[in-house]
């Protein structure tokens, strides 16, 4: 039985709504559960503070839940939006919208749980810092919502911009790819930017006098951990706002989908890796506030190197987007660019996390002994990162081979 275009668009809106709140609920629930578990531990440790800890837990959970609430808003709008006379491409845009919001809420929800949990523990250990801890928890978890907000911006654009000027082929791949790019890219950054917020809150309970230094480092560390998500958003914008009507539908659609997957997937690893580095930096500064200069510098160098795989992913996306392709309906012509995107995307995950860990332990050691060995350790870190990046470079080479040789 053939369905009308309107039915397809309606169906896609429902599917998008399902993806949005389905994926979006994962992270917030994890983060809130983690916060609640730690609140119980904290109350067990210091029952006299149970009132403030409970209050703090509820505030922290409310902020961690905001990513889930964004997903709910998008899902409601998708479920009740009017699809009268919408062209077929609108169906793909609505699907992309749901995916963008749902996937991007995973990381931020989980990340928001770290500062909430550490604030509860901190109040139990050092009740006098209660006010400072709650403030820092709010700042930290609000910052870690940023990747979800990026996903939401793209989701709204996909929903409300009139896509009828783009042709269905390859436009459908552009709007779906945009949703995947920003959604996937936000996962790692969301978790990653929550990690320093957690360790900074814990550090403040231990060392309240250094609160300003710790908070500044936390904000820088979280902000840099969000860079991979920003790459995803930039690729999503390019997919959405470049006019694809002059490109041959086959194989451009595969290149567009590949471009979204390449940056989206490869951003997951560096986001988490940068989070590990920033976490150790905040913890280290809380231990030795005088080390903040060398620790921040090493953290930034380590994070920049750990981001190189998402930069490879971004590079592959740019090649896929802007190097013109000849019209061809052969199998190889479309499978090659799609596989190039997938290859670089998955290949970027591991090195990002690995290099982030290398930088994290280096930063940890430099914080303990910042006068003696910092130059030596930075050099070891760079060599170690270069070696663990080699698999990312293999992926880049294979992706380039798929694009230019085959």
């Amino acid at each position: 039985m053939p369905f009308s275009t309107e039915t397809w668009v309606q169906a896609a809106a429902f599917l998008g709504a399902g993806f949005s709140v389905g994926f979006g609920a994962i992270g917030a629930a994890l983060g809130e559960g983690y916060a609640a578990g730690n609140a119980s531990r904290a109350i067990g440790k210091n029952p006299a503070m149970s009132g403030p800890i409970l209050k703090n837990m509820l505030i922290g959970q409310a902020v961690a839940e905001s990513a889930g609430i964004f997903a709910l808003v998008i899902a409601m709008l998708l479920a009740f939006m009017s699809t009268e006379g919408a062209p077929m491409i609108e169906a793909w845009a609505l699907l992309g919208s749901g995916l963008a919001m749902g996937l991007s809420a995973i990381g931020s929800g989980a990340g928001g749980g770290f500062p909430a949990a550490e604030a509860c523990m901190g109040i139990a250990d050092n009740p006098s810092t209660q006010g400072a801890l709650t403030t820092n928890m709010l700042i930290g978890s609000a910052v870690s919502q940023t990747p979800a907000i990026f996903g939401m911006v793209v989701a709204f654009m996909l929903m409300f911009i009139d896509w009828s000027s783009q042709p269905l082929w390859p436009g459908w791949a552009a709007v779906l790819g945009a949703g995947l790019a920003v959604g996937l890219a936000a996962i790692g950054s969301g978790v990653g930017s929550g990690m320093p917020a957690g360790s900074a809150t814990a550090g403040m309970a231990r060392q309240p006098a250094a609160a300003t230094t710790i908070r500044t480092n936390m904000l820088i560390g979280s902000a840099v951990s969000q860079t991979p998500a920003i790459f995803g958003m930039v690729v999503a914008f390019m997919l959405m706002f470049v006019d694809w009507s002059n490109s041959p539908p086959w194989p451009t659609w595969a290149a567009l989908l590949g471009a979204g997957l390449s940056t989206g997937l490869s951003a997951i690893g560096p986001g988490i890796g940068n989070g590990f580095t920033a976490q150790e930096a905040s913890a280290g500064i809380a231990r030795v506030p005088e080390a903040s200069g060398p620790v921040t510098t090493t953290m930034l160098i380590g994070q920049t190197v750990a981001q190189s795989t998402v930069i490879y992913g971004f590079l592959v996306s740019l090649i896929l987007l802007f190097i013109p392709r000849e019209a061809s309906e052969s199998m190889v012509a479309w499978v090659a660019p799609l596989s190039a995107g997938i290859c670089m995307g998955f290949g970027g995950i591991g090195p990002g996390v690995g290099e982030g860990l290398a930088a994290a332990y280096t930063v940890n050691r430099i914080a303990r002994d910042y006068e003696g060995v910092s130059v030596l350790l930075t050099r070891v870190m760079l060599v170690g990162q270069a070696v663990s990046e080699s698999t990312g470079i293999y992926s880049l080479i294979v992706a380039l081979l798929l694009l230019f040789v085959i």
Partner: protein, 223 residues
């Protein structure tokens, strides 16, 4: 919901070129600049040992940022302090503007954050060349190995993209969600709370993050 995609424009034909201005962004930026100029005038008009109310406000801001700048920059580069504070005040006031009905944040338009991102980028590299000399500056691009140069350059350029899109995404996202939720609940109960969270709270944090990153970029270049 049409406000989302409609940007008011001014057009100007100049020597055969058609120039396009985002009128709303321009007007709002001028409002922010006007407020800052008036505040600067009031705060420094009658400087005295016992500060008046405007002077106290100015001193609070200077004190708050002086510590951060002197932690991050060494003696020779402290003269970037006025720049850092100005960037903060402009972006912070821009982000606050959306709370007032009828006004909108100039930072909601990607052009404003991008201009500030480029400003910070150019200044940090200028400071780096001045502090280290052109030779040492250039040799950093071939670290740790010579073939890393293109990646290092892309990495530097990506800083502009990340710093400006971060501010833009947050402010734009906040204003969209305020608009959409207000529409869904017919303006009842929720909008003030959302304005407080996204306008005042997130706006302040993002202005601070932007300023700190500009400061850190300068400090990394000069070390």
């Amino acid at each position: 919901m049409n406000e989302l995609t409609n940007v008011p424009h001014w057009y100007l034909s100049l020597g055969g070129m058609r120039l396009e201005f985002n009128s709303e962004t321009l007007i709002m930026s001028w409002i922010v600049m006007g407020v800052l100029v008036v505040f600067g005038f009031l705060a420094t008009r009658k400087l005295s040992f016992l500060p008046g109310s405007w002077q106290s406000l100015g001193e609070v801001m200077v004190n708050a940022f002086q510590g951060l700048v002197s932690d991050a920059l060494d003696e020779r580069n402290r003269h970037y302090f006025p720049l850092i504070l100005t960037v903060f005040l402009f972006i912070w006031l821009s982000n606050m503007l959306g709370v007032i009905p009828g006004l909108s944040e100039p930072t909601k338009d990607l052009n404003t954050p991008l201009a500030y991102g480029l400003l910070g980028f150019v200044i940090s590299h200028y400071a780096g060349i001045k502090a280290k000399g052109i030779k040492a500056y250039l040799s950093e691009y071939v670290q740790p190995m010579f073939f890393m140069a293109p990646l290092n350059i892309i990495g530097e350029l990506s800083k502009v993209v990340s710093i400006s899109f971060r501010l833009y995404g947050n402010i734009m996202g906040g204003s969209i969600i305020i608009l959409v939720v207000s529409d869904l609940v017919y303006g009842l109960v929720l909008p003030p709370a959302l304005n407080a969270f996204f306008g005042l709270f997130v706006g302040t944090i993002q202005a601070f993050v932007f300023t700190m990153l500009t400061l850190v970029y300068i400090s990394v270049q000069t070390k």
